[in-house]
Symmetry: C2
Subunit: 376 residues, 2 copies
């Protein structure tokens, strides 16, 4: 294997696939990026056995020759090192050649690297799936689905299914749900011109967070391919594949209240500001339970921490309709939800002191739900 390539073109590809590189793995070969060259271009692949990313760099890009393949072949190159090295290359061209299946030479400018490689024949054979009827999703929509729901993914492995995001497609409506059983996020997207079969899968949250990073800044549609165990997102030369989580996602629709005893509206930045400031005491102390006392057009936010002290702030609500309430909850959950709900006005709707409350914006397709805690 031997080729010359424009260094920034190569760096872009290595950067994308490196998101799937293993850091800790019982298989050292998975710390490598697999490079395969042909006359059409070069293919990069990395995998941590949960996520696999394949990226194809064509020889010609925008009518410019970006790659000169001198000798076809394959190699498994040290991934992290290639990534870090390419960040420091200022020369336009870079030459890469494999010797004896044992080391690669990387040359640019006055630099001459000889890097030890593992034998590419040890690289596991990862098959990339393809569905007959892939589901097209707009990239901006998919990123919004991930951003709105990923805050509620469970970080605990107690119930592994909750570490994923549930993707449900029914009657052209794609619904994404995540819950760690203390809060829940739900976002829906109407798919256009779609005749796909119903879908109900759980994709690991970590995979989707990496996918969102890669897709941000891209536009157009991505294709969702799924099989019983694997999901794959394809766009142009990029394939992002993830294993699915096993098991049934809990039925959550009944958790979301439909009727409310109190509906309030706040200015988002003021709300963030106050909660953030009140939460200072929780960072120093042991509790992060804040209280909302809503009555007589007032919203009093307070936090008591026996070790640190007590804070009381008055928050201005732009609208308030219904019965007074006194409710306690984890301030972090509220801040997380407010960070992703990008709207000037935030509506918070309460049902009761021990019943979940929800945050919404003008956009009805997204709901952030938080379970309160009992307070004295």
């Amino acid at each position: 294997m031997k080729f010359k390539i424009k260094s920034n073109y190569f760096a872009k590809g290595i950067n994308i696939v490196s998101k799937a590189l293993s850091t800790k793995t019982p298989m050292p070969i998975l710390k490598s990026i697999k490079i395969s060259t042909s006359n059409q271009g070069i293919t990069l692949m990395a995998s941590d056995s949960n996520i696999t990313i394949k990226y194809f760099l064509p020889t010609e890009d925008h009518d410019t020759t970006k790659i000169f393949v001198e000798e076809e072949g394959e190699a498994a190159v040290p991934g992290r090192l290639m990534l870090d090295m390419l960040k420091k290359v200022t020369d336009e061209n870079i030459e890469i050649a494999l010797y004896e299946n044992k080391f690669i030479k990387v040359n640019f400018g006055h630099s001459d690297y000889t890097l030890n490689c593992l034998d590419v024949r040890e690289y596991p054979d990862i098959s990339l799936i393809s569905a007959e009827n892939p589901i097209p999703i707009n990239i901006a929509d998919l990123n919004e689905l991930i951003k709105q729901t990923s805050i509620s993914i469970s970080l605990s492995e107690n119930r592994p299914i909750l570490t994923g995001i549930n993707f449900k497609l029914e009657n052209q409506m794609l619904t994404c749900i995540a819950t760690d059983s203390y809060r829940l996020s739900q976002k829906m997207i109407q798919l256009d011109n779609n005749t796909s079969e119903p879908l109900n899968i759980v994709i690991p949250g970590k995979s989707l967070i990496e996918l969102e990073k890669i897709l941000s800044g891209m536009s157009g549609n991505v294709e969702l391919h799924s099989t019983p165990n694997i999901v794959s997102f394809k766009i142009n030369n990029l394939t992002f594949q993830s294993r699915l989580l096993d098991g049934n996602y809990p039925e959550t629709s009944r958790l979301i209240p439909k009727e409310f005893g109190l509906t309030t509206e706040f200015n988002r930045s003021e709300l963030i500001h106050v909660i953030d400031r009140v939460s200072l005491l929780s960072r120093e102390g042991a509790t992060n339970i804040i209280k909302f006392d809503i009555y007589d057009e007032k919203t009093i936010v307070s936090l008591d921490s026996p070790e640190v002290g007590r804070v009381v702030e008055e928050l201005h609500s732009t609208s308030q309709e219904g019965s007074p309430i006194r409710i306690g909850f984890n301030s972090k959950y509220l801040l997380d939800a407010l960070k992703v709900l990008e709207s000037e006005v935030i509506k918070i709707q309460f049902t009761g002191e021990v019943r979940p409350f929800i945050l919404k914006t003008d956009d009805d397709s997204v709901i952030q739900l938080i379970l309160p805690v009992r307070i004295e």
Copy 2:
């Protein structure tokens, strides 16, 4: 104790003294900032028992009343919390009052904090020293002395004296030296109009690094006061006091070579770029020893790492006079020295393969010395 104060004025003072707050301490009171109010203004003090910082905020500043003292007194307020809280205050005024020597109330806008306090009478009595003949030092000069030498402070407690910077004053010349016994940094400053006694003290590196942070951006002179165990830097309303290290600093003047077999000159940014890139392999592998081979107008930089591979780069020297050399050394030491030597041209002078070499700029007052390692 009760006062009103402009919040940004207070925040500036709290920010400065907080640099001396203890994070881990057997004395919980040292996590507090001591506030003392009088008609003239308020005094803030914090100490971690090594460093003590006192800062006085006068009632009037630039002909504006910044503080209204309603009740004189003292309090020990939670330092970290006050610092964090003040970062989040957007209101112009803040009101602080002590109750029952047990808690303070902090009020601004619609916020009402009640914070637990320790009894200020438990705060240790820290005396601030004052010398009869303090040494005036220009702040920019002092910051440069610290910046140039602090890279060579020892991080190991094996020889505690080497964790400090040696300040020596003789015949109006202030010399600062730091060495961790693998490298040495020396910077000299000529003091004007100074009739001070000779001085030879060792100030903890950590103290000086904090001092440099506080002084950066200030101008004018700072006064150095010293007693056998304590040094104090005073400027306007600020006192920064540190204990001194006990013991004699090693005599280092004979370590610095005066005659050289080879003198080379490099462009600084190119040199940094190449060393940085070659060092990539050291981050992945076990060794960070790079080699310079200088001969026939060439400088070959290389690094061998049995696990990772080998890199060879050719570096362009702008001038080269003397005999060829092949020398190995820790690349981190060279990068550290290059980061603080801010000059387009860097002169490196060698004496022999196992003898220290030095880095210089056009400015003769600073020397960075590195000990090589034996290479095969």
